[in-house]
Amino acid sequence: MSLTLEKITKVVDGELHINDVNLNFEPGSFNVLLGRTLAGKTSLMRLMAGLEKPTSGRVLMNGADMTGIPVRHRNVSMVYQQFINYPNLSVYDNIASPLRLAGDDKKTIDRKVRETAEILRIESFLNRMPLELSGGQQQRTAMARALIKDADLILFDEPLVNLDYKLREELRQEMRELFKVRNTIAVYATTEPNEALALGGTTTILHEGRAIQYGEAAEVYNFPDTVECAELFSEPPLNLTKGEISDSEVTLDQATHFPLNADLAGLGRGNYIFGVRPSHLALFPVNEDDLEISVKVELAEISGSETFLHVRNKHLSLVLHLTGIYQYEVDAPIKVYMPTHKIFVFDEDGKILKVPTRLPIVNQAAQVTGGLQHG
């Protein structure tokens, strides 16, 4: 079954929640809706499910207009942020409930409940009550209930947000496995770029009710259409600065200069917005044409195995994403290195003009151990 959203708009109390969204979801596809809080992810999902009617536009399933058809006449499942189960039913009965409603026979129900519970690794908890389980197990129960009825469309509204990060890691990987062999359309909403990349499939970036870019996750990540897309699909966000290209040099924020290189020469003189990925900045020079910038440390945020280093000087404010652990005191003066050939260039309206192409191969071992010596 395919699902098409055609010119969907939703207005609530005079406020535009969804603005002219056109999307197509293929049978068996895994689709991520990526956007910040209030971007319209939940609203769009409720429209897909039939929990809401669009103000204008059509929802088509397999080409047939389903716009006015309420949720109970559609074959749709939904998993929410909160772990929603029937508290007075056992895990077994929770998972079985959609099939009982559909009037399946006892034997089929038993077989499917056990199969589904096994996939989600909760087969040993079938006789327990949901509230006796951990958050992760409760959410697995809710997922099992959504999966068991072979819905045409399964909607996940930030299902992992209330779990700790170790569980999130595990469940993310399982989600991919789960949908490899299904014919269901899965739609998964998240605020986290890294989750969208980890889940793979197609990504739609939602911003202020509009679908601003759509495509394979890696494609959208590597080739953002606009500044907004690049910012929204990068955690930490892409470092952005205004700047200028003259006949001979590039100037960032009127203060930091470097000679015009072959990569940027074709763009011509003028004002631009430049972007550099946090992971492309380094604490030591990697290539000859790297630009040295003196900065002060605002904060070294350390996440177990990686460091997000916030730095700034009078003109620039940058974030570095480093593999390994680097501890710095607040306000420590350091130097950072910007690869002048790995720069995204946007026009003044934020439209992409150039994505970096020269990606030199750096051996990872050298990078990690070298980094550790420096830090």
């Binding site: 980890a198 793979g200 890696a218 945020e301 177990g304 994403h321 593999t323 750096v362 071992a365």
Partner: protein, 383 residues
């Protein structure tokens, strides 16, 4: 401020504890030095909240002593211990102004209004609350309220220690790093003993100079963020710190040789003699995904060969120490890096590669550099 010493401390909620299982905190000896920035990190149920409540005086330990600067405080109330606490949710007086909220702890101990005014202004400046001092607390945003809550903890300079219990839970994600910066600045400025309790590795490693990782009622490692990453002393630390966590393999030690999934591991003499005398029930080998080398034509090892002779390459790979042929199961492109899932023998493991590196499908050679391959006997590091 004070040094906090937990001496032979243990706690059981059961009146008649029988074994390890009955203890929320298993016997420990632990010192939080004066003026340090510490974190207590662990998953839910590990005992970290119990330990925090024991330090603050909300729970009396069933065994052992808590010493503040060498004096036992077991029977003292939180007030008598002079501990400030900042909780998950802001604790403030809604109907009072921000100024009065910050002044409250000082008025309680009888400071003069002049002293109070000076101190409140200092704290308000530091926490960037100057513009809202006259506002009623109930009209503040969630993060402003939490800043006031922190300010109430910081306003007295005579406290023994400040305890933070997941203080950034209610803060908007993009504001969190600013408050983390504030907390670090405050610590660098005042050098108050601070203990920060959290289940989040980012919160813990960003704030603390040293982290106590708790698991099953025990502190399994007390170290710097870098030590937890580079040299986990317990398999739980390897698993819990880092995303993804450390890879583990079954190990065996026979006739003075160490094997990983049946493959010989090169090992120095010192390590061999340690292994020979260490008693254990289970032996594991661990390596972090960041340190697994996936060998390709650009690896230093093959680069040296300077030849396109494939047989020579294969021979080199087959003979190099700790190099193994693995099955490639999955390559996950996370934009800034790749996570590759590989299989060696029966064990799946992960490698983290830079975005530029390509990985062939089918099979690939990996190398486990000896200095990053750790040996664990009954879950504890042999070092």
């Amino acid at each position: 401020m004070a040094e906090i010493h937990l001496r032979q401390l243990a706690h059981s909620y059961s009146a008649n504890p029988q074994g390890h299982k009955d203890y929320a905190i298993r016997e420990m000896d632990h010192v939080w030095e004066k003026g340090g920035a510490y974190a207590l990190l662990g998953p839910s149920g590990c005992g970290k909240s119990t330990l925090l409540n024991i330090i603050s005086g909300l729970v009396t330990p069933s065994e052992g002593q808590i010493l503040f600067d060498g004096h036992e405080v077991n029977s003292l109330t939180p007030q008598q211990r002079n501990i400030a606490q900042v909780f998950q949710f802001p604790v403030i007086y809604d109907t009072m102004s921000v100024y009065d909220n910050l002044a409250f702890p000082l008025r309680n101990v009888g400071k003069t209004e002049a002293e109070i005014s000076a101190k409140v202004k200092d704290i308000a400046y530091m926490l960037e609350l100057e513009d809202v001092l006259k506002k009623k607390a109930k009209n503040l945003t969630a993060d402003e309220k939490q800043k006031v809550s922190m300010g109430r903890g910081l306003v007295r300079d005579d406290v023994s220690a400040i305890l933070f219990d997941e203080p950034l839970t209610v803060i908007d994600p993009h504001l969190k790093w600013k408050l983390r910066r504030k907390l670090k600045q405050i610590h660098e400025q005042f050098n108050i003993t601070m203990v920060y309790v959290t289940h989040d590795q980012l919160e813990a490693s960003t704030f603390a100079d040293k982290i106590a990782v708790m698991y099953g009622g025990q502190v399994v490692q007390f170290g710097t963020p870098r030590e937890l990453f580079e040299k986990p002393e317990h398999t739980f630390v390897g698993y819990f710190i880092g995303s993804p966590g450390m890879n583990f393999f079954e190990g065996s030690f026979q006739q003075n040789e160490l094997y990983l999934e049946g493959q010989l591991i090169s090992l120095d003499k010192e390590m061999k003699s340690k292994l020979a005398i260490t008693p254990y029930n289970s032996l594991k080998l661990g390596i972090r995904p960041e340190f697994v080398e996936v060998l390709d034509a650009n690896s230093p090892l093959l680069n040296k060969l300077n030849s396109n002779d494939n047989d020579a390459k294969t021979a080199l790979l087959e003979s190099c120490a700790n190099c193994f042929k693995c099955e490639v199961l999955l390559v996950s492109d996370l934009g800034t890096y790749k996570i590759v899932t590989l299989k060696l023998g029966d064990t799946e493991f992960k490698a983290r590669l830079p975005e530029e590196q390509t990985v062939p499908s089918g099979s690939v050679y990996v190398r486990f550099p000896g200095n990053w391959l750790k040996v664990y006997a009954d879950e504890y590091l042999i070092d």
